[in-house]
């Protein structure tokens, strides 16, 4: 069986000092094993 998660997340945020912080990023890659409760991305 298969589970597909589709979600909205911030792409990038311009800070007051004009720099851009890169927002959401995956912390797993295709092929990784993962378990319930482990972060997919932050």
């Amino acid at each position: 069986s298969t589970v597909v998660v589709v979600f909205e997340a911030p792409l990038s945020k311009a800070k007051e000092d004009g720099t851009v912080s890169s927002e959401f990023d995956f912390c797993v890659r295709a092929g990784d094993r993962i378990r319930v409760g482990e972060a997919i991305g932050r």
């Binding site: 069986s1 298969t2 589970v3 597909v4 998660v5 589709v6 979600f7 909205e8 997340a9 911030p10 792409l11 990038s12 945020k13 311009a14 800070k15 007051e16 927002e23 959401f24 995956f26 912390c27 797993v28 890659r29 295709a30 092929g31 990784d32 094993r33 993962i34 378990r35 319930v36 409760g37 482990e38 972060a39 997919i40 991305g41 932050r42």
Partner: protein
């Protein structure tokens, strides 16, 4: 006459009936082709080349089979009660075949009356610690990450395998509220997300600002993207589904579809696999916006149970797939708030058959 019967007997002795010889020959050819294909795939992997989509004869043959009935028959087999003295051996055999971790099972093996009960087992308390970072999304299941990435452009396609993609709107249901996030159209100029098709393409990521004073705020507010992650559960994996974040589930869609296998070979050879298969979609909102989970069944694991809607029945013989109404939908009360679930909370589970 004597001589002819002798020679006839001699002939019969050596001449296998034609059909058996042909069947053996065909099986041999098919097996050789399967070995050749697997060999080719292994070579591609060694070279770091990704497997590509290549429909084959077997995929077309699968379309002819009554997969839903086969799935329900398999499920009824799995419900058969196993005598208590046989349970440890049977479940250890399953665990060895599918690499299940028996140490985590919540109950002693003797307590699972059938393979179905063992398959849907829960785990010992604390077996799956939930990442406490409030800004992270966690995996809802145990499994292998097949694909992940960001949806871009008006088509918003998810890659099933290199060389074949399917529209996320077909997976979630065309009326998915994912569309609603495309435009907070008020008035004034539009600042568009970096869509590959250039800024004029009609895209989902249009962010419009009403007036100059808002522009600064909007400049500081996060631009948003839609991301996806496809997770494959092996037959031996823990098969309950947990919540990936604190979110409100607004609606549920049940697509009573086909039940093709969803193993690696099927992903590579069956077109629109996740869009054709039986599945349950939960859709709602988390602190960063839209979120949806699609639990897709397969021949051996054909049904999904929802803890938040125990009365839902999937993979049932009565359900007919109508092109005009590919799914049935339920909006959870109170509308707009739905069912609130916490990150890591158990929300659903897969069942065999």
């Amino acid at each position: 006459i004597h001589a002819s019967t002798n020679s006839g007997a001699r002939q019969g002795k050596f001449l296998l009936p034609g059909a058996s010889a042909a069947a053996l020959l065909m099986l041999g050819v098919l097996h050789a082709k399967r070995m050749y294909d697997d060999n080719k795939l292994a070579e591609r992997k060694e070279k770091g080349l990704e497997p590509e989509f290549e429909p084959d004869l077997k995929a077309s043959f699968l379309r002819l089979l009554p997969l839903r009935s086969i799935s329900r028959f398999w499920g009824s087999l799995m419900e058969v009660e196993v005598p208590v003295f046989m349970r440890p051996a049977v479940y250890k055999g399953w665990a060895r075949a599918f690499h299940s971790n028996l140490q985590e099972s919540a109950l002693p093996l003797e307590e699972y009356p059938s393979l179905q009960a063992f398959f849907t087992r829960s785990l010992k308390e604390g077996s799956r610690p939930i990442d406490a970072d409030p800004n992270c999304l966690v995996s809802p299941v145990d499994g292998k990450v097949l694909r992940l990435g960001q949806l871009r452009g008006p088509g918003a396609m998810i890659e099933q395998v290199k060389g074949f993609s399917y529209p996320v709107s077909s997976l979630l249901g065309a009326s998915s509220s994912l569309h609603d996030t495309k435009e907070e159209d008020v008035s004034g100029d539009q600042t568009e997300q970096n869509t590959p098709e250039g800024s004029n393409a009609k895209s989902w990521w249009r962010v419009s600002v009403a007036s100059p004073k808002l522009r600064d705020q909007t400049r500081l507010s996060p631009k948003r993207g839609i991301f996806y992650c496809v997770l494959y559960l092996h037959p031996g994996d823990y098969h309950r589904v947990h919540s990936p974040a604190d979110w409100n589930i607004f609606k549920r869609r049940h697509f009573s579809g086909n039940l093709f296998p969803t193993n690696e070979r099927a992903v590579r050879t069956i077109r629109n696999l996740y869009v054709e298969n039986e599945r349950v979609v939960l859709e709602g909102q988390w602190k960063e916006g839209f979120v949806a989970i699609a639990a897709v069944g397969a021949t051996n694991v054909g049904s999904v149970k929802l803890l938040i809607e125990p009365e839902l029945r999937t993979n049932s013989s009565g359900s007919v797939i109508l092109p005009s109404q590919p799914y049935n939908e339920r909006v959870y009360e109170p509308e707009g708030t739905g069912v609130m679930v916490k990150k890591g909370q158990e929300i659903a589970g897969f069942n065999m058959g």
